[in-house]
């Protein structure tokens, strides 16, 4: 991508900071800014479409009208929870159960505030939307070291793009399901697993650390064995604690080494 001069222009640090408020961008750099948002986000956004289609089909499968796929995906906008919600609606689950499931499945989002670059997003409405649209995917794409330098436009553009592709996929699934006998297809929900696998490999490339990967998998397997019903919450909690302990040990080790060097000198 460095062969494309307009793209290289966009990744220069001063243009990443974005224009001063109220100053309109010249058309050339506006196009470049759009490209800077769309290029890295497009594969993940497009990857969400088959998953959205699977969700739209599930909406029909559970006896809801197709447009509920649009409403769920636009308003709730929390992929894995939406799959669960539709199944609960079909069994007329009480609202208290809906609330509890939401807290348990989306409880992981409280951890995202640790590293999502909300401080880069300017404006009250923009910040409100940015927290509303803080999904696993938008977290995965912004939480790395690079994201801390992204402009407000770039972060919001990414989030809007992911939101739109999720709603479009779900709506498409609802419409396809009313038109075609796609119920015969099994296993479309693997798109969600594939998405997380791809995001994990990309996260590893950004921050290659096999020990982190091994610790995370150990926490996931441990949580699955100990408390399978609350696997996500237990695994996140355990992984956070393990990382904090590792960070603490590393700092103590540094202090210890510094101490012995002082003694030797």
């Amino acid at each position: 991508m460095s062969r494309d001069p307009s793209y290289r222009f966009v990744v220069l640090p001063q243009s990443l900071a974005g224009p001063a408020p109220g100053v309109p961008l010249p058309p050339e750099s506006r196009r470049a800014a759009v490209r800077a948002v769309v290029r890295p986000a497009a594969p993940v956004a497009l990857g969400m479409v088959p998953l959205g289609i699977a969700f739209g089909l599930l909406v029909l499968h559970n006896g809801l009208a197709w447009w509920w796929a649009t409403v769920f995906s636009a308003v709730v906008y929390a992929g894995s929870l939406e799959f669960l919600l539709v199944a609960m609606v079909a069994t007329a689950a009480p609202l208290a159960q809906v609330a509890l499931t939401t807290v348990m499945v989306n409880g992981r989002h409280v951890f995202y505030a640790l590293s999502f670059p909300l401080h880069r997003v300017t404006g009250r409405a923009a910040r409100t939307y940015s927290t509303f649209a803080l999904t696993d995917e938008s977290y995965a794409m912004t939480a790395g070291p690079d994201g801390q330098r992204w402009s407000s436009t770039r972060i919001l553009g990414l989030q809007v793009l992911l939101h739109l592709s999720w709603v479009a996929g779900a709506t498409l699934g609802g419409l396809l399901g009313t038109a075609l006998p796609l119920d015969a297809l099994h296993g479309l929900d693997f798109a969600l697993s594939a998405l997380f696998i791809v995001l994990a490999i990309d996260a590893y490339r950004a921050q290659p650390d096999l020990r982190t990967a091994a610790l995370a998998l150990a926490c996931a397997l441990g949580a699955l064995l100990v408390l399978p019903a609350q696997m996500l919450l237990v695994a996140y909690g355990a992984f956070t604690v393990v990382l904090l302990v590792r960070c603490g040990l590393a700092r103590r080790g540094e202090r210890g080494r510094a101490g012995t060097e002082v003694l030797r000198a």
């Binding site: 594969p43 993940v44 497009l46 990857g47 006896g63 809801l64 769920f72 308003v75 609606v89 609202l95 809906v98 609330a99 939401t102 989002h109 951890f111 995202y112 505030a113 640790l114 590293s115 909300l118 401080h119 927290t131 509303f132 803080l134 696993d136 977290y139 939480a143 297809l185 099994h186 296993g187 479309l188 929900d189 693997f190 798109a191 969600l192 697993s193 594939a194 998405l195 997380f196 696998i197 791809v198 490999i201 996260a203 921050q207 650390d209 982190t212 990967a213 610790l215 995370a216 998998l217 926490c219 397997l221 699955l224 996500l232 996140y236 990382l243 904090l244 960070c247 603490g248 700092r251």
Partner: protein, 110 residues
Amino acid sequence: MPEPAYVAAVVGVAAALTWGLRAAPFAVLGRMRDSVAVHHLSRHMPLGVMLILAAYTLRDIPTTTPMAALPIVAAVTVTVGLHLWRRNALVSILAGTAVHVALATALAGV
């Protein structure tokens, strides 16, 4: 078909709680952004979180017979292999999903 008012209430409850869970922690955690521990977490959480989510979505892998696990194992292999090779997220996701749908649909008919 479920009552529209009930479905709307489900959407409302889930949306409000989800937004609350996403937004509220910033009030507390935002001020800790400069700490070494938070920096350590922000560097290592993305990989860990994605692996945990991948494991979570694959937790119901059927292990009764080797044949039952085949669609998942094959699809994961294709997704990982393609992504290591081509580095194209869309290709990896679509191919992995296609393999899973083909095998799961074929085996469901058996």
